[in-house]
Symmetry: D2
Subunit: 360 residues, 4 copies
């Protein structure tokens, strides 16, 4: 359903960017997991605006409150509600958008679908909605780390045509956080920083690619036929604002190879079945094979820009529109923790699903 993701480990997010609050209900989490606000806040702080000059300057503390589902620092097995109050709401910045549609944004489609919209900042289409995803993902992270040492690391792989060189098998979370771009290739990060900052000064925006890896994934997660692991990952990541593409393993580049070149040769390593290459990206037949899951998400340049654009208004007149105040020149650095969250949510869900059917 529209605002719910997952089947057994399941989140429902709620809240408009300029309503009272945004948040999430997480249902299905196993009981007795140690959980405190600090576990959540860590990831929320990575998603928060205003971390550097590269992001929107909206000032929000985004302090999370756990309203239910825990007792004496542990989960109860009941719904965990995590809430963040909206504070820095400046609807005035959006007055111009009250009856004008931002090109390539959700303004026109929401208005057409519902006959009403919260024009103050995008409503549900705002990146603020992802707070609930990150909060839910933080719980999944803790659960899977304890259950099987699983870890997920995402990072900026590409900004426009600037490509970083990163080994998904070895990249560390700390190196991602080492710079404002969240690109662990320091040289590429510096060039990306410059490029984004220039776009910011131009009132324009840039797109790029976030890559992510999940390591220590147990063999056997994912369900044929429709709930293949890559299908659920694709859904989760293509549900992110501004995403336009998804690939796993060899992806679009893999089509250039012949089968004999593309197949991952199987081998035995310390008594365990492994593959010598990983063009499969950690999934075969929709089920994890124990190799690292490697995927990439393409994000278009943000639609809301300060440059003037051609648009129409609600009464059907051609108008000009330029965003005032806050404007995010590149969504990628802040998208990194959200990408991680979606992957973690998918894996936690399938971990429970596998346990249900196969008792593992």
């Amino acid at each position: 359903m529209p605002n719910t993701f997952g089947h057994l480990f399941r989140i429902t997010t709620f809240g408009e960017s300029h309503g009272g609050a945004v948040g999430v209900v997480l249902d299905g989490c196993p009981p007795r997991l140690e959980l405190a606000e600090a576990d959540i806040q860590r990831d929320l702080d990575r998603r928060r605006p205003g971390q550097s000059q590269l992001t929107t300057q909206r000032q929000e503390e985004d302090t999370v409150e756990i309203l239910s589902g825990t007792f004496e620092g542990r989960t109860l097995g009941t719904p965990i509600v995590m809430l963040v109050r909206n504070k820095d709401a400046r609807p005035g910045d959006y007055a111009e958008m009250k009856d004008r549609f931002r090109p390539s944004h959700a303004d026109f489609t929401y208005q057409s679908k519902y006959g009403i919209r919260n024009w103050q900042g995008g409503g549900r289409a705002s990146a603020r909605e992802t707070i609930g995803r990150v909060a839910g993902g933080a719980v999944a992270r803790k659960l899977l780390r304890e259950a099987c040492g699983l870890e997920v690391v995402a990072y900026v792989k590409q900004v426009q045509d600037l490509m970083a060189v990163i080994d998904p098998g070895a990249v560390e979370a700390a190196s991602v956080e080492a710079n404002a771009v969240r690109c662990p290739d320091a040289a590429a990060a510096a060039a990306m920083f410059e490029r984004i900052d220039q776009a910011r000064r131009d009132g324009d925006s840039l797109g790029g690619v976030v890559e992510a890896v999940a390591r220590n994934v147990p063999v056997g997660l994912g369900d044929p036929v429709f709930d293949k692991l890559e299908a659920d990952l694709a859904k989760g990541l293509m549900s992110l604002p501004a995403s336009k593409g998804f690939e796993i393993g060899s992806g679009f580049g893999g089509v250039l190879l012949r089968g004999s070149e593309h197949n991952d040769p199987m081998t035995l390593e310390a008594g365990r079945v492994r593959s010598r290459s990983n063009r499969s990206g950690g999934v075969q037949g929709g089920i994890s094979n124990g190799e690292p899951i490697v995927l990439r998400v393409a994000f278009k340049p943000t639609a809301t820009i300060a440059k003037e654009q051609d648009s129409v208004d609600e009464s059907g007149r051609a108008v000009k529109l330029a965003a005032k105040g806050r404007h995010d020149p590149c969504v990628l650095p802040r998208a990194v923790p959200v990408v991680e969250a979606m992957i973690l949510l998918v894996l936690a869900d399938h971990w429970l699903r596998h346990r249900a059917q196969c008792g593992a």
Copy 2:
């Protein structure tokens, strides 16, 4: 759930490639739609193996039988079951695979997950499973054509590095069917045919890209937040065997542009809000905006090849493996109707969902 796709217009597929039958239960179809076996058979015949030398030579008529859900040629509003008996089952061809895992195939992961597998032809991981999808998609096609003149056309856009030039706004279904490759660019099709046939002779396989367009899509289909139209399309298409990537509109290429270049300028055309370009690919904020939906799916080269490969067997010994008998050098021509089916299923589902919530 694993074998179910869709929420209101919903299919559940069943059947192994070498069990008694494969098929689908379609639940939620509106009543009083005219429907006969011939409506289904047309698309099944496009998916059937043995159509040309490019595909696997398994000989199956794949004749569909409607077991329930219709009465006097019209749908009842009850579950429609469509069944295809398995006929050309030659389990002997698979004897070698009984305890050997095909590299990059589902053999190892199924065995690891379930502790059992139908090794005769891939079981649920077989392309035969897509028969149920195509049957369900054929009903969706009929429903949406009558409801709003909606049409979906898919075609082979790329084989290895061979790229076709096709205008998604104008391409006709008939031109797709004009050659065995299902590529409406005749010159490219001829080159692709040669390339695939060479791979066949080499006992090898090729991958590529299928592109698809949906036209006359009503404004307003798709649900924020998780069930964005592109998210559900991505899930549906990434659930296809051998798919490794998905993109919509500008996709991965769109990351090269700045926001001011990427945004689709809005304009009025005959009183209707349109966009002058379509980098959005027909969706904005997860909701259709009335422009054609354009998407692409990357398929890796098929894993099952006649060339000898390194593998392991169930007891953990290194072995060599080469497929006998049937072998599909390129899955793309037969994937075309399956891609169309998945898109139609997603759109039919969201058409009903929109009607439920917004009464449209």
Copy 3:
């Protein structure tokens, strides 16, 4: 899923009785419905404890806050979150229950299932959880009243062996609210009041039956096979704390009749198909037939009583237990608005489902 009810008009409740808050996420509500806190508060006030000497004396204002999903007084089509903070939490009253299980309560089963429980007041098993149901039901009430003039009225029909005489076809909401028992038969209400008050003085509790009627239900709501209207109503009402039985129309009494006596003769009335009797209770084959839906729910006497009882504690010793402080001698008067809410939620859901599949 555990904390979610409904398919298209769908609530997820959350919150423990002694956590930070209780509340509900309502997803799927059509857009542009006028909605304010006052619409919700009205029904919450009927559910609130402390209304008369018959109910638990816990003092809670239960003031609802709408956190999301509305804009300028109308619904947006996005999730509506309604929150009530817990205030009168006196965990001290529950100290004795920390390691002692109340007989016939959820203490032992929660502890066995989860290995942890919030022992302060019952956690999710508390009647406080029903706040979210009532809030969601209030929105359903408004939606259905505007859509088709539908109304639902529940009332206390029986307390122990005291039976009221009430005509479900004519009973008015105002007469239900006319006394503290919520029984519109004034004479019976007076006797029930005495009986309940005596139980209160004895530190004991009473059970009974709530009857409800839904009028102006459109023909055609309900889905064969598993989602028959009576099946969904049964599920909703049997999910209420302390409910032990459900019946619709003739119910258990109907088994005494022969088919020729039980069948409702069909007739035409002002051009409309009606039935001359209503032993069907408004549903036939799981689908509403336009007659009033009449049902009854049996509630056992509340488990928590002030009288001393035999129990065991967590370490497995036989102990005695008597509830301190608050104790609810009869749950029925406060169950009345909750029963109405569940019926309204089921009907709103099926109203949307019918619109989706049949376009009505």
Copy 4:
């Protein structure tokens, strides 16, 4: 969704009584369970018409075929399709019902909802639909017996005012099958037989109550809040054709007691927490407590009778109607295996759900 029941152990039934076939897709069954047609046929034979003079004389062998989901006699973890072809279709018997609505049957409501119906025998509203339930329940029975020795026994407790005396804690399946009424109290069974046979001769029908017990149910099955075990049981049983009431444990009779009389005193027995009485019926707070689950379902007398009744036809004229040919004087004996199936399906589903969330 309409034709699907269960969440993890999940059936989708399909088929009209006079279409090509009826059957079921069972999804979510754990792999490696031994399963053959004989396991299913046993319960189907108990449901089959024509077993005695008490049931409808329709002659159907109802031979089940497993189409998918097993391999070499064990389940694969993939969807199990079980199919029964319709054979004894005599649509002529229904010619009169083509445009006449049977009173208290689904004819009018189906026609109103869908604008079309299969008038040959009731379509989906036919008791034939329950074949799929029984087939699914037979798999659940096998799974739960092996997993935890769980067993479910149902029997006819009451026909009209004739009540049997049966101890749910001790009743054996064999004694249920000892007579045509499926009432293990032989004296009551004889009286019931006479009563039903008289109704048959009168062209009339009788209702009654089926009671059921589940023993060896593990502690901890059932989910707060909406998916309480009794709520899911109520939904499953109230979805059966002709059911009008459901109760668990003390049920409607329990409202006569005070809390101090109704509460089940807790005690320790061989180191295990038990209750000295079982008015809870095996569930507390929606979760199984390890005591036998005891429930009852009220079935109204069948609507289709040979006696002439007042009705209307599709064009809105008052008509008389009397069923020809087959007519079932009492649905109870054949409802017994269906009641067992629904209970088993609910328990299997919650057994998997519990394993998912709590790892038990």
